[in-house]
């Protein structure tokens, strides 16, 4: 039996020769699919794998997540998985250049590094038996994310590539989390953050100063151009468009589509329109096909 698309309520087997698995139900008429997905057969075990699903982590994945809770020794992170992921206090680097044992003082200061609502990027360290994830951020690439926007797409659309941290040529840097959360921020932040990083060398999370929000002149970010902001808006709209059109998302394709939408003379807000968006993607697919044929 080859892989076929099964619809909810569709009878996928009437013979009664098979055992019903995940995403199916045994009825008097036969085995019926309960979800939309691809039907697959292993020996006599018939199951349906869902098309749209929550993120199921694998070790080494780059993810973007949001802190939802602080519990003993660890932060609970929402990564659009079926269970909250956890990042242990021991799995981050604290200020001071050497690795050290975290004591009770560090535990009391946890909210100083990350508080509820904060966004972070991290890597999956371990997948527990119940499917929940343990994250770590022992790398200067990872850390708290500030001054940007989060775009949520389906996790199955993100293409696994070598590089999930990508800087676009138009002044936007991005993190393509494999859990479907994409972080966009202006790339001009780098210089100022480096200054802060030198002060807190080796730390995963730079402690938050209390006056960051109340005094906008004391923001640790350089102001950036209106053009960069518009580029980010365009990128955001393109990502949401690719999500609704079910187009696999990788940094290279996103950049191509970005330039293509410029070539088609589309305004940023035009991309919010479903009809225009659909036409753009249809044209884009044809354009890529003709390019592939010519090379």
């Amino acid at each position: 039996m080859s892989e076929t698309i099964a619809l909810p309520g569709e009878i996928i087997d009437e013979t009664g020769d098979f055992v019903n698995g995940h995403g199916t139900r045994q009825t008097s008429r036969g085995i019926v699919s309960t979800i939309l997905g691809t039907a697959s057969l292993q020996n006599k075990f018939l199951s349906v794998k869902p098309l749209r699903t929550n993120y199921q982590g694998e070790v080494g994945d780059v993810v973007v997540g949001r802190v939802v809770e602080i519990v003993q020794h660890q932060w609970k992170i929402d990564v659009h998985s079926k269970l909250f992921a956890g990042i242990k206090l021991g799995a981050i680097n604290l200020p001071g250049n050497e690795l050290r044992i975290k004591d009770a003082t560090d535990e009391l200061n946890m909210r100083g590094f990350l508080q509820e609502g904060d966004l972070i990027s991290a890597e999956v360290q371990k997948v527990h038996a119940d499917g929940s994830l343990a994250l770590h951020s022992r790398n200067l690439l990872y850390g708290r994310l500030e001054n940007g926007i989060l775009v949520k797409v389906a996790s199955s659309l993100i293409v696994r590539t070598k590089q999930h941290f990508f800087t676009f040529s138009f002044g936007v840097k991005s993190i393509f989390g494999l859990n479907g959360y994409i972080w966009l921020s202006p790339s001009s932040d780098i210089d100022i953050n480096q200054q802060l990083r030198e002060d807190y060398a080796g730390a995963s999370f730079i402690p938050r100063t209390s006056n960051v929000l109340s005094d906008s002149s004391a923001l640790p970010f350089s102001p950036f151009e209106r053009g960069t902001r518009l580029a980010m808006a365009r990128l955001r709209n393109i990502l949401l468009l690719m999500n609704s059109e079910w187009e696999p998302i990788s940094p290279q394709v996103v950049e191509e589509l970005f330039n293509f939408s410029h070539k088609q003379k589309l305004e940023v807000i035009d991309l919010l329109n479903d009809q225009i968006g659909h036409k753009l993607l249809t044209d884009f697919r044809a354009y890529r096909l003709s390019n592939a044929a010519s090379t």
Partner: protein, 338 residues
């Protein structure tokens, strides 16, 4: 819905000060609106309104049914007019497919809450001493705060629209029709990404715009329209405006939840011809606003309403001309406001 991180709120507020929003719109620009008429066969009229794109938007379905109460045949005209206003009952079901325990009505920023609290205290002290240029409208009671859940949301919305359509709309009723009807407006929210009140309000207007009730007396085949809905362009439309401080005293419409969380306070302006009715909902802590801001909100809401209604009328007229004589069918279109 998520909590908004301080890091994101910095970006959103930076965008406000530079005049560019997260998706590239201007402050007074709506997302594309698509409307589908007559999708529900069981109702006398129905509409489905979607604000925003397929992947991120607010979607509302409205259906209207009528119940015929008493017949008034050959009664005194004046008495007739006073008794036969249709009673309107409005219910709103808020069920955008989210676990109700997890859902809060607004995203929130903890640190911003404190900031607004300080701001509110400061302006209240100022108001006590100054000549009263700052106006603070009293809290509405039924207003939503950042901790509201789905049930509160549903209560608020249904109370708001029942009030709008039973008292406000029919107060100026004139004309006569054959039967005493009770109208039942049922609205279901299936997706929520900001502008929920705008979307419901528009959806009710669209459904009422072609409401035709069956008539069984003289001509059983020909349905009739209640007289006050013949000119549906006079129906009240509620729009939500958000006041932001980052770019002077500015008004933003059609906000995403994250933009809502970064605003100071929100008004619901209901416009009906020349009248305004304003409800104020503070965002986060109690936001304050000056009279000038409220005037500005009224002005913008009237403009947007005019644009919206005229665009809607154009499309409906065009579509009516196309399907003239045939049975009404599902048709949809897309409005983009400049």
């Amino acid at each position: 819905m998520d909590i908004l991180s301080p890091g994101e709120s910095i970006y959103v507020r930076g965008g406000f000060s530079q005049g560019v929003r997260n998706d590239g719109r201007d402050f007074l620009q709506f997302r594309p609106i698509s409307i589908e008429f007559d999708g529900l066969r069981q109702c006398y009229s129905s509409s489905k309104v979607r604000i925003g794109s397929k992947s991120q938007g607010t979607e509302v379905t409205t259906g209207i049914k009528g119940v015929q109460l008493d017949k008034h045949v050959g009664t005194n005209d004046t008495q007739f007019q006073s008794t036969c206003q249709p009673k309107i009952q409005c219910t709103v079901h808020y069920c955008p497919g989210v676990n109700s325990n997890e859902l809060t009505a607004a995203t929130r920023v903890q640190q911003l809450d404190q900031r607004y609290l300080k701001h509110a205290e400061a302006s209240q002290e100022q108001g006590g001493q100054s000549t009263g240029q700052d106006a603070t409208i009293g809290e509405t009671g039924s207003g939503l705060d950042s901790h509201s859940n789905t049930r509160e949301m549903e209560h608020f919305l249904s109370a708001f629209f029942t009030k709008q359509y039973s008292a406000n709309l029919l107060a100026s009723f004139q004309g006569s029709f054959a039967h005493d009807w009770q109208l039942l407006i049922d609205t279901i929210v299936t997706e929520d990404n900001g502008s929920i009140i705008d979307c419901i309000s528009l959806s009710i207007i669209c459904a009422l715009s072609y409401l035709q009730l069956p008539c069984d007396d003289e001509d059983p085949d020909k349905p009739f329209t209640l007289s006050q809905f013949l000119d549906w362009t006079t129906l009240p439309l509620s729009l939500t405006c958000y006041s932001i401080k980052e770019a002077g005293e500015s008004i933003v419409v059609d906000c995403y939840p994250e933009e809502r969380a970064c605003s100071v306070c929100s008004f619901v302006v209901t416009t009906r011809q020349d009248q305004h009715d304003i409800t104020k909902n503070p965002v986060g802590a109690s936001g304050t606003s000056s009279l000038a801001t409220i005037k500005l909100a009224q002005y913008h809401c009237r403009n947007i309403r005019e644009q919206l209604i005229s665009a809607l009328q154009q499309h409906i007229d065009a579509q009516r001309a196309l399907i003239n004589g045939e049975q009404s069918s599902i048709y949809s279109f897309c409005i983009s406001l400049k």
